[in-house]
């Protein structure tokens, strides 16, 4: 029996459709409301309009925030990707005591509420005299996204065939050379896709970010939240749609890389 028929017969198909609907309908509604010709975020019934997107383009504060978000996400994915990969190597390749406990600690940022992480980071950044702003946000996002990179790269390294490194050594390469020539290229799809996930998480992070931004480094999610306090308008939907679009593309690329 094919998976397809199995799903239909067992009634699981309807469950699957329901789950997807719950996941996707709110997102689709946001996207639809961004095309409304009316000044309220309603689903357009009489024609569509791009006026809210044009308004976005003219709003330098929003465009600035989009730029800031992209730059922060890019920096975060690089720092998180680098640190997470090195950490994963350390955990997989060395015999450190209490390895399991320590690797659970690595996942703490996933388990602790981002509000608490955000508060802790503000305190920490103050101590380091970084204050709020770009460096603080990248630092905070690195903390929050490190577990994703760590988990994905570690899983890849565990299944990596060490015999490839042995082969490289015998063929005349040194130990570090072998890691750069063989190991990293072989695991690179996992590293890149983990970095894209870090990018997406950083790009959409709000809870901890709001504690860390300064006036010049406001990110898109923080702007959206601020805008909603003065009432809902379709421009928020338009901005959200842009946000969704960026994240969707990143996820798509991640999927392609990992194929």
């Amino acid at each position: 029996m094919t998976t397809d028929r199995f799903l239909r017969r067992s009634g699981l198909l309807s469950v699957a459709v329901f789950v997807y609907a719950v996941l996707l309908v709110p997102i689709v509604v946001i996207i639809l409301t961004s095309f409304t010709p009316r000044p309220f975020p309603t689903i357009p019934t009489r024609g569509i309009s791009f006026e809210w997107y044009l308004a976005l383009l003219e709003n330098s504060q929003l465009i600035g925030a989009l730029g800031v978000s992209l730059v922060i996400a890019a920096f975060t994915s690089v720092t998180s990707g680098t640190l997470g990969t090195i950490t994963a190597f350390g955990f997989v390749r060395s015999d450190i005591p209490y390895k399991e406990t320590l690797s659970t600690l690595m996942l703490l940022p996933l388990m602790i509420s981002p509000v608490i992480t955000g508060l802790a980071l503000v305190r920490f950044a103050g101590q380091l005299r970084i204050g709020s702003g770009f460096v603080a946000v990248v630092l905070g996002h690195t903390v929050l996204t490190l577990p994703y990179v760590f988990l994905i790269v570690r899983a890849e390294l565990v299944t990596f065939d060490r015999e490839l490194e042995s082969a490289s050594r015998i063929l005349g390469a040194g130990p570090v050379e072998s890691v750069f020539n063989i190991t990293l290229p072989v695991i690179s799809p996992a590293v890149i896709s983990s970095m894209l996930i870090a990018f997406v998480v950083s790009f959409g992070e709000f809870t901890a970010t709001q504690f860390l931004v300064s006036s010049g480094t406001t990110t898109v999610p923080v702007i959206i939240y601020t805008m909603t306090r003065s009432g809902l308008n379709p421009q928020i939907s338009a901005l959200s749609t842009v946000l969704i679009g960026v994240m969707f593309v990143a996820a798509l690329v991640s999927g392609l890389v990992n194929r």
């Binding site: 065939d161 015999e163 490839l164 050594r169 015998i170 063929l171 005349g172 390469a173 040194g174 072989v186």
Partner: protein
Amino acid sequence: MLEVRNLTKNYGDLVAVDDLSFEVDEGDFVTLLGPSGCGKSTTLHSIAGLVDPTNGQILLHGDDITDTPPNERNIGMAFQHNALFPHMTAVENIEYGLKMHGYSQKDVDDRVDELLELVQMSEHGDHKPGELSGGQQQRISLARAVAYEPDLLLLDEPLTGLDRVLREEMRREIKRIQDEVGVTTLYVTHDQEEALSLSDKIVVLWNGMKQQEGSADELYESPINEFVAEFVGKSSKFTGEVVSVADRVVDTSAGEMYLDGSMSFEEGQEIALYVRPEHVEVSPSSVEGKNVFTGRARQVTNLGSYAEVIVELANGMTVLAETESFPSIQNGDDVYIQFDPEDVIAL
């Protein structure tokens, strides 16, 4: 050329290799043969520099290389699962070792063409390992291992992942490539057929210890202990008590058995006797000579040019025989078997 002296490797309490010594002469094809877990792979990995021996020395051309890192040993190796780099094409895989050994780009190109031809893979240079069949991958793996003209080629059960037909084809290929390249080769396998057909010399390992070392013929005809007799080649085993040293008679549960040659046993000693199947004559009618037993043909297997017959003796023991006159013997027939005293291996 290669000399392994008192090699020992412990993993905690487990002794993987136990005081192993052997030599490989220039240009020879030597096989380490033994069941899985006998220490043959650990030995090979120690020679490659991938495992640190607990004790002992490894000498290559007289130089102690025991502590030399693997990349400075100038050794080539083909792995059990071929270990081709999945992100590189066949050509790039072969180039890797050449580049690491400092060949110029022109020399690399010339050599790669030569090697692809040697392993008959000229058509497949641009393919990635994932696009090649198991046999083709192993060919590239061999080409990669001999590319930079290593002093010694190590082969770690390279045929294990292949099916039977391909295994036989690749076995011949390995021999041909080794002959053409002329590289000294150390081969590791658990397959006695591979060992017997490929090697100038075989070192039989068991429990990390060397059991016997010699040519295929020596191991087959004069095994020095029961393990080697049973592991190398097929045979039927009898156990019995020495009745007379002068007459060379052993009393087994199947009846009295006559041996030949000098007896280094004492009367009353329990010994094991082995007879190779090609030395056992099966006949539907009575036969002359010593060591004649009666029994019933239990299983006749036609193997083309000859047949394997399993004969059940009166006491329930089974004896394996090979015969070329099998059409006259059917399952269930009463048969006579006979073997010459000189063909009995006594241990």
